[in-house]
């Protein structure tokens, strides 16, 4: 294209694009001041910006002489005399300083102590409480409360039922959440030490996944598997919530429970392990 035609078409396009941008920005203002919605606001802003953007690019490409520039690249390493001169200036200055070894000692100790003082402040952000991290949460005798505040009983649990419960006084507390499931007691394969942990086939497990701490919220009645929706770990409720598939390596902590004389379910102690994801000092 010859330069004159290029100038003509370039100018025409640039003017048209900037007119479109002007129109779009008027639309933006009208939409904003009349409070009529997100959609048009975004669309008009986009048209305005791209209109002006196109104008600038046209100006840069069509309406500016395209001169290819070639500049020499100076070596980054300065010539040796220049480096020597810099070193010499530094040395001259250093020579004027008396008792340099003491000054150096003062400097290093000041910087070191400042760093130590600043780093110490990190302690204010929190010191791990291993007693909370390793808490087994439940205490013997506590009733198992639903989120509505009702105590779970043997009668409230039908075969195949699933219910979320919390310790008395800690309703809604994430780490305490426990799932109750009633299964046919003849299917149970609990370890010897846990034979009396599941009265009438009612099992209680922590609802916090031992893998990454999500809520193990799904139960498959036919396979007796609890499923975590985050990474699809499954736990077999019949065998003390042993991992059955997926990335979780540790079982869900089990809560020993018993039924008192009127059928109210109560905790027989704390969880078998601290609930939630594992860590270095877990007990």
């Amino acid at each position: 294209m010859n330069p004159e035609r290029r100038t003509f078409w370039g100018t025409l396009l640039a003017v048209l694009f900037s007119l479109a941008a002007l129109a779009a920005s008027v639309v933006f203002l009208v939409v904003y001041w009349s409070n009529s919605g997100n959609l048009l606001l975004g669309a008009s802003l986009a048209v305005a910006c791209s209109g002006w953007g196109a104008t600038l690019v046209i100006w840069g490409r069509l309406l500016t002489l395209q001169r290819e520039a070639i500049a020499p690249r100076e070596p980054l390493l300065p010539p040796e005399p220049e480096r020597k001169a810099a070193a010499k200036t530094f040395t001259l200055g250093t020579n004027d300083v008396c008792r340099r070894s003491i000054l150096r000692w003062i400097g290093f100790s000041a910087v070191g102590m400042f760093a130590a003082m600043a780093a110490s402040l990190l302690r204010s952000l929190g010191v791990p409480s291993y007693s909370s991290l390793n808490s087994h949460i439940w205490k013997r005798g506590q009733r198992l409360m639903t989120v509505e505040g009702q105590a779970a009983t043997v009668d409230s649990m039908q075969l195949g039922n699933i219910l979320t419960v919390f310790p008395e006084g800690r309703i809604g507390d994430e780490r305490s959440q426990t799932v109750l499931i009633r299964v046919d007691p003849s299917l149970l394969e609990l370890p010897k030490t846990r034979q009396d942990w599941a009265p009438d086939g009612i099992l209680a497990y922590s609802r916090v996944c031992t893998h990454a701490g999500c809520t193990v919220g799904l139960y498959e009645k036919t396979t007796h598997l609890l499923l975590c929706p985050c990474h699809q770990s499954t736990f077999n409720v019949l065998c003390a919530a042993r991992p059955n598939g997926g990335p979780a390596a540790r079982p869900l902590p089990q809560l020993p429970i018993y039924a008192d004389s009127d059928g109210t379910l109560r905790a027989g102690g704390g969880f078998s392990e601290p609930p939630g994801p594992g860590f270095w000092g877990i007990e």
């Binding site: 802003l45 929190g126 997926g246 860590f279």
Partner: protein, 434 residues
């Protein structure tokens, strides 16, 4: 040529700051023209948009875990108890004029920012632009990527919706899994066992102050170094290590770059206005007792999520100490990936025994092994990213998650190996053609 008399304003500044020499050399500075050199610029402009939109959002967001009962214009959540953080997110989305546009633009700009950084990194890698003298800028750039990833996570976590709540718990599990110092790290970053009332204010301070300050400083250093060293050139006529070929800052480069800024702004505005992102009101407030099936992190963390799903259920007992299963895919893998990236220029220099300065780029096919390695790593990360959504894919495709996961465990090694071999052969063929 017509000469323009310097305006009075320039004399005013010049007589106070002695600018003429600096301005002249700046206007004459040469930048090469190539589309792939715009990727870093896109990231820079996305950061500018993030700062502008983020400042607007900060005026309305209330970073607090205090419980309130919602009575706003979004009727579906009327009467629901939620954190102030979530409530203020709803309010700035529905009640503040242009609030939803700005919030969605902010989230989209973050995705553009990280996407552009990754594309820019790939360009640098595959053209070997990290070689001497640009190793320092490679390290600065990688640190920018790490900070951007972290800040993306902090940003969507503070909205305190059900989805980000799940993300926060997974982040907590990964951090506490670190041997020896894990518990210290979670108290430092999250203020204790998640959830607790300190988490949101703390992440908010990181998100709007600490990380952006570091990003700004490092971006400034990144640009100063580029300016000082001049940009690289692709090989071609009159390109050599002693010249820089391109267009001058004034006028053509300035016009094109400002145009690019406006285009990035336009794309982000269009996405923010037209394409819904992170609709927190659909998820509902964070609620420990509720579960959200199909939960996914934002795409740039999907590879870690995928690794967590594929890694076998193996934890390690050292005496009475435990290294939980999430440590290996969740923490060790990202650490290894980034450690290798940080060391790469130095490893490559050792392997090639080439310590010279280079200002002309190498094309991907001129370095078959290097290109094959890079493609294999990308393929590995892509398979992991797919694995991060394996439940969603299984449901959509109607097959079992278990079978899909077994397949993905094979693919995660097979696809990168195959990709590497194919790319290597293609590069060799291309090189033989000359």
């Amino acid at each position: 040529m017509r000469s323009i008399p310097a305006p009075a304003a320039s004399r005013w500044f010049d007589s106070r700051l002695r600018l003429a020499t600096i301005v002249r050399s700046a206007l004459n500075h040469v930048f090469p023209d190539h589309w792939s050199f715009m990727l870093g610029e896109i990231a820079l402009y996305a950061f500018v948009i993030l700062v502008i939109t983020g400042t607007f959002l900060a005026l309305f967001f209330n970073a607090s875990a205090d419980k309130v009962v919602y009575h706003g214009v979004y009727r579906a959540l009327d009467g629901v108890t939620m954190s102030s953080a979530y409530q203020s997110t709803l309010q700035l989305s529905f009640q503040v004029r242009a609030g939803l546009l700005v919030r969605q633009m902010h989230h989209w700009a973050a995705d553009v920012f990280i996407g552009a950084i990754i594309a820019h990194l790939a360009r640098i890698f595959f053209t070997a632009a990290y070689r001497r003298p640009r190793e320092v800028n490679w390290l600065v750039g990688l640190t920018l990527l790490v900070l951007a990833l972290a800040n993306g996570f902090f940003g969507y976590s503070i909205c305190a919706d059900l989805l980000s709540g799940a993300g926060l718990r997974v982040g907590y599990a990964i951090l506490i899994s670190v041997p020896l110092i894990g518990p210290w790290l979670v108290y430092l970053l999250f203020g204790g066992i998640v959830p607790n009332n300190a988490t949101i204010p703390r992440l908010y301070a990181f998100h709007i102050f600490l990380v952006p300050a570091l990003l700004s400083i490092l971006i400034a250093i990144h640009l100063v170094i580029i300016w000082r060293q001049y940009h690289t050139n692709y090989p071609g006529p009159s390109r050599s290590d002693c010249t820089i070929v391109g267009s001058r800052v004034w006028p053509s480069y300035t016009f094109k770059s400002l145009g690019l800024f406006l285009f990035v702004f336009a794309v982000v505005a269009a996405l923010g206005g037209l394409v819904q992102i992170d609709p927190v009101w659909i998820y509902g407030p964070d609620n420990p007792a509720a579960t959200l099936p199909g939960a996914q992190p934002d795409w740039y963390l999907g590879w870690v999520e995928g690794a967590m799903r594929l890694f076998p259920a193996v934890n390690l007992h050292i005496g009475r100490w435990l290294i939980p299963e999430v440590f290996f895919p969740g923490m060790l893998l990202p650490l290894v990936v980034f450690a290798l990236l940080y060391c790469y220029p130095f490893l490559e220099r050792l392997a090639s025994r080439d310590g010279n300065s280079h200002h002309v780029l190498r094309l991907p096919w001129q370095q078959p092994f290097h290109t094959a390695l890079g493609c294999a790593v990308f393929a590995f990360l892509l398979v992991l990213l797919v694995a991060g959504g394996d439940d969603v894919i299984a449901v959509a495709g109607g097959f079992s998650v278990v079978a899909l996961r077994t397949l993905l465990r094979i693919l995660v090694f097979a696809v990168p190996s195959l990709t590497g071999c194919v790319v290597y052969l293609l590069c060799i063929l291309r090189r033989q053609r000359g």
